[in-house]
């Protein structure tokens, strides 16, 4: 409807006009009847033409309409899960089919908003204007439509961008116990995208509403909320909503990669956008799916999960893609999060998702409590895309980082012998301790890639060796300040050229030496 001032007569005319314009359609509808309802499940007789995954409308006695999903198509009846107010539906209620599979509204209007998995706003900022609808279940692009991952997705975290680099279009799993910093990594990554062209979608599955509110507030205060969509299926939402939440979030992100900035389909001349999707967390989605399957009487498998729980995650994560240039070159990067129990990464769901993703970031409790935060274990964390997703400068400096840390871990047990060791071992221990300190990073302070390169460069050249390990972080931060103020051209050179040329190398060494001399612990 057009804009109208709040004037009684104008409103009156509008309403009368709208009512007159409405035409009743006298079609014959196909309806079914509810024969059994309970546990969030309704069994429906009739509706012969129902599709698998179709949206059904249950008309309760008092006129309320509750949505449901047709999941079990059996010989005499349909098993449907109810997404809304389950108490409203009673036996003998009428069920209508909508003729469409579950879909969500998508569009630019969703940016900066908090919505539920059906696209309805939850943040009280008014109605959202959508640009269309996309199905929640979408067939992932095939081989020919894709291109290899070659652009970096900078997380801003030194430990990740140097040793476990993530590329645009990759799936990188963040896995660890509870309260270990998994969400923190995802939020820092989202904050780091605020000055880039990447649109972020954060899907909160089964979390406390207060936690999601806190996350939204954090993103707003760091200016990252404008380009972020938060999809929330809180712990009090029904299992079907928690089940479709990640797929709905993915569909909202897919709108941006398959369409150019003008809203038309992306192709070579109309590039698609780049999206980052965080699924926090998929363990809760699997639990919700298990609840739905067991109440639908589907046979339970291992750990009582249904037999197709692998397919649940694989079809979601396959939708992460780097599209070929002919398809617009957009990308959707997925950061799924899985919570383990007591560090057991060989349980059913963790092993499933590890085998699907292109690498994982392992967070460990003992590292966390030693003060190493982010508590990433670089030894067993991996990124299967690796160097392709790094700028040359980072590859130049980060090459030996992992090796240094591995050697350090091996020798750590000998550290207690102090002066009884040979020089080579002492050097490994010294350097390793300083590298560990270098990789520690506080929350909400993502580092641009040139600052990361500078820090690692300094440590590699040995400038941190004479400094006490506990002062290394201060040394790094001071160095970044110093070089940004006095030698900003060097940082610009790294950023723009993407590599450290010989002149830059010499100039940097000189600058760092000057700083190191002046650095007083």
């Amino acid at each position: 409807m057009a804009e109208v001032t709040l004037d009684a007569t104008a409103l009156d005319q509008l309403l009368v006009g709208a009512v007159d314009a409405w035409k009743p359609d006298a079609a014959v509808e196909t309806v079914g009847t509810v024969i059994q309802v309970g546990d969030g499940i309704a069994r429906v007789a009739g509706l012969d033409g129902a599709m698998q995954g179709e949206l059904l409308e249950f008309s309760a006695q008092d006129g309320r309409v509750v949505a449901g999903l047709a999941l079990n198509l059996e010989e005499g009846e349909i098993g449907a899960v109810l997404t809304g107010d389950v108490d409203a539906v009673k036996e003998n209620d009428l069920v209508r089919s909508t003729g469409r599979l579950v879909d969500v509204p998508v569009g630019e209007g969703l940016l900066g908003r908090v919505v539920n998995p059906l696209g309805e706003p939850l943040d009280g900022k008014g109605p959202i204007s959508y640009d269309g609808r996309r199905p929640v279940e979408f067939r992932a692009p095939g081989v020919i439509e894709r291109k290899g991952v070659h652009q970096p997705m900078q997380t801003g975290l030194l430990a990740v961008d140097s040793m476990i680099p993530i590329g645009r279009g990759q799936r990188e799993l963040i896995i660890g116990d509870r309260q270990i910093g998994k969400t923190a990594i995802a939020i820092d990554t989202i904050i780091n995208q605020r000055d880039t062209d990447v649109i972020c979608v954060y899907v909160a599955i089964g979390q406390k509403a207060s936690t999601v509110a806190g996350i939204v507030e954090t993103l707003e205060s760091y200016g990252a909320m404008e380009k972020t969509i938060v999809v929330s299926a809180a712990a009090s939402d029904s299992a079907p909503l928690q089940y479709i939440a990640p797929m709905a979030g993915c569909a909202m992100g897919e709108y941006f990669i398959y369409n150019g900035a003008d809203g038309k389909p992306a192709n070579e001349s109309n590039p698609g956008r780049h999206v980052l999707c965080v699924y926090d967390d998929l363990s809760k989605q699997a639990v919700a799916y298990r609840q739905m399957s067991l109440t639908l009487r589907r046979p339970p498998g291992r750990e009582a999960y249904p037999g197709d729980v692998f397919y649940l995650h694989s079809r979601l994560l396959e939708r992460a893609v780097k599209l070929s240039d002919a398809n617009g070159g957009g990308s959707l990067t997925a950061l799924p999060i899985i919570e383990t129990q007591a560090g057991d990464i060989s349980a059913y769901i963790p092993t499933n998702v590890i085998s699907i993703t292109d690498g994982q970031i392992f967070l460990q409790s003992d590292l966390f409590f030693q003060g190493i935060r982010p508590a990433i274990n670089p030894g067993i964390s991996v990124s299967r895309v690796g160097g392709n997703a790094q700028i040359k400068a980072m590859k130049q400096v980060a090459g030996s980082l992992r090796l240094d840390l591995a050697q350090y871990r091996e020798m750590e047990a000998f550290a207690q012998f102090g002066s009884d060791l040979d020089d080579a071992t002492k050097q490994i221990l010294n350097r390793g301790a300083r590298v560990v300190e270098l990789l520690k990073q506080p929350r909400y302070v993502p580092m641009p890639v040139e600052n990361q390169v500078l820090s690692i460069f300094a440590v590699n050249k040995g400038f941190a060796d004479p400094i006490d390990p506990s002062k290394v972080a201060a040394f790094r931060d001071g160095l970044i300040d110093y070089v940004s103020t006095n030698h900003a051209d060097l940082l610009a050179a790294i950023r723009d050229e993407g590599k450290i040329s010989d002149e830059t190398d010499a100039a940097l060494t000189e600058a760092i030496a000057a700083y190191a001399q002046a650095f007083v612990a």
Partner: protein, 84 residues
């Protein structure tokens, strides 16, 4: 609810605000029998809540031309106006 009774005749559920006149009943039975190809019996229920019009359900086919249904449809059209 069953749509077939013992004598293998289809039963249609009819809801109206006030009782059907004999003429209306006869016409309805004739139309439904022609369409179903089988004899059809009516199970009438006077439902003041529908305000006016008629609702006929035969098996899993529902024809709802009640005033109540139209009011609900107009309401949802107005409330959801502009929605995609």
């Amino acid at each position: 609810m069953t749509s077939v009774n013992d004598k293998n005749v289809l039963v249609a559920q009819v809801a109206t605000a006030s009782p059907l006149s004999d003429a209306a009943r006869a016409r309805l039975v004739e139309k439904l029998t022609t369409q179903a190809g089988q004899p059809v019996e009516l199970e009438e229920r006077v439902t003041p809540a529908v305000i006016g019009g008629i609702r006929v359900q035969l098996g899993d086919r529902l024809y709802d031309a009640t005033v109540l249904a139209r009011l609900r449809a107009v309401r949802s059209a107005l409330v959801n106006a502009g929605e995609v």
